[in-house]
Amino acid sequence: MEDVVIVENVVKEFPIGAFLRKRLRILNGISFNLPDGDNLAIVGPNASGKTTLLKMLASIYLPDSGSIEIYGYDLQKQITQVRNMISFVSPSLTFQAKLTLKETIDFFAGVQDVGIDDIALNFLEEVNLTHMMDKRLESFSEGQKAMVRLVVGLMKQPRLLLLDEITATLDLTRKEAVINTINELDRRYKFTIILVDHDPMVVDRICDKVLLLKRGGRVLKYSTVDELLSKIPYKYDIKVTPKKTLDDGFLKNFGFPYKKMGNIIRFFTHNHSEVNELNAKLLEKEDYILEFSISGVSLEDVYYYWMQKETSETEKY
């Protein structure tokens, strides 16, 4: 299977400080290949270089060393060809507020040299925005603007779609609508997606592979979503919000591994029967507990698990 994106040993530094004499290294030797047909999520903590890497793939930044190839074209030497194939969508795309949707679509269609009859109008119809063509964008909600951003990004039918936290400002309903729309369009038009998003649900629903970065701009893990999830030694976690601070002696009595995260306590279980057992014990201690919730492992767990492995903490599950 052909690799859509080949990133080899990419380093990126930015000049900082007085007279820009110092350099801050954001990406430190990033390498990965993305096969055709796979969608990738770049995840990691703040300052791990996620958006920098995405913007480099979008050709907004250029690497200081290393190489990036997209569909066989070198990003630095054949930047025009690369830009013809990619589309970069970010929530910072806020549009001219006084222009109508039609005028905005006309503009972006013009600069991308595409018609607005095909993909753009069909998509607008699917997301129920065609009746707003003559409305100014200043009257649009955040969810509607997110849809417009997607329309603009998909208009030229890019081969590679780069999405930078496009669901960041959306509520759950809007997020769900955006995810469903992206998946439907991906099925129909078969483009490759690389996205940066903090929400594990978004990553889970859209992506096949995850590039996990750590602070300092290095790759912590690069794997499929399923493989990463399967490596987690527990299947369920129960988040408990206590009414007051609970000491370790009290928590150990529950008989399950746990971790304190601020004022939240997370218990880890392997199977349904352990979940039921812990559930019953928590209900017995309801005088100490404000609320608790049960969920299956997600990418949030993936990240914390791999970060703990990396920093050699001694939690045993």
Partner: protein
């Protein structure tokens, strides 16, 4: 072909945006009319003491207002283009679609200049005609259009040069305004260029090599006197052509280099 389509789409958008802010257009027109009133009064009160003018100081000043009405606002709008696009988040998107800074800035300059030209021709030109400033003969209309076009290209080049500084140094403050004021002073907007020799001998010769200085002088001859002196006309046109070509070529090269440097140092989008 792609460049022209993009230029057209961006210019149309810019025109649409300009027309959404009608109050701003009204203020700009008001400002120009105030300039006409102020300079008319100035020309009426002040007499030139060191330079002999072939026409009244009032006519001298008012044609300067008419000339710079074509370029001043569009220069300001063009220099503000990149920070404005960056603030709307469109800069990154446009760059990733092969829309260069040169295209963006040219489109902004074109849109703004269309409005400025309409205002100058429809509002200021009739006022000058009513005040009996104009002696324009139709046979020189084409020359006047060529002069304005070359001066527009020169000012576009200056806008590109100033914007190239803005690409790297984000807060440039009054830097762009300094350029405009210097060009206006050296073009003979406030006083005859020859008067500069009273301060620095030979400065008027250097000033007249600037396209806007040569252009304004030519326009004054064409509009006030009815025709330019032939030998001086060709000298002025040569200055205009050579100066404009040098500035445009240098500006495009420098701006493209700055774009690459900004992409390397990571400051392309941030303002």
């Amino acid at each position: 072909m792609g460049f022209w389509k993009t230029l057209k789409a961006t210019t149309v958008r810019n025109l649409r945006v300009i027309f959404k802010y009608k109050f701003e257009i009204f203020i700009n027109i008001s400002w120009l009319i105030l300039d006409i009133i102020a300079f008319s009064l100035l020309g009426h009160i002040v007499e030139s003491t060191s330079v002999d003018l072939e026409y009244s100081l009032r006519d001298f000043l008012l044609v300067g207002v008419f000339f710079w009405a074509f370029f001043g606002k569009s220069y300001d709008d063009t220099v503000n283009c990149i920070p404005e696009e960056a603030s709307r988040g469109t800069l990154g998107f446009l760059l990733t679609n092969n829309v260069s800074f040169v295209t963006l800035l040219t489109a902004r300059a074109t849109a703004s200049s269309i409005i400025s030209a309409v205002v100058a021709i429809c509002i200021i030109f009739p006022i000058l005609a009513v005040l009996d400033v104009l002696q324009l003969q139709l046979q020189w209309l084409l020359l006047a259009m060529v002069i304005f076009f070359l001066c527009w290209l020169f000012m576009l080049g200056v806008s590109l040069l100033v914007s190239s500084v803005n690409v790297l140094f984000k807060r440039i403050g009054l830097f762009s305004a300094l350029f405009l004021w210097a060009l206006k002073i050296l073009s003979g907007y406030f006083f005859p260029v020859e008067a500069l020799d009273d301060f620095v001998p030979g400065l008027s010769f250097m000033a007249m090599s600037l396209p806007t200085s040569a252009g304004l002088q030519l326009i004054r001859w064409v509009l006030i006197l009815g025709a330019p002196p032939p030998e001086m006309m060709w000298n002025a046109l040569t200055s205009l052509l050579i100066g404009t070509t040098i500035v445009m070529v240098a500006a495009i090269i420098i701006l493209k280099q700055m774009e690459k440097i900004a992409a390397k140092v990571g400051t392309l989008e941030f303002y």
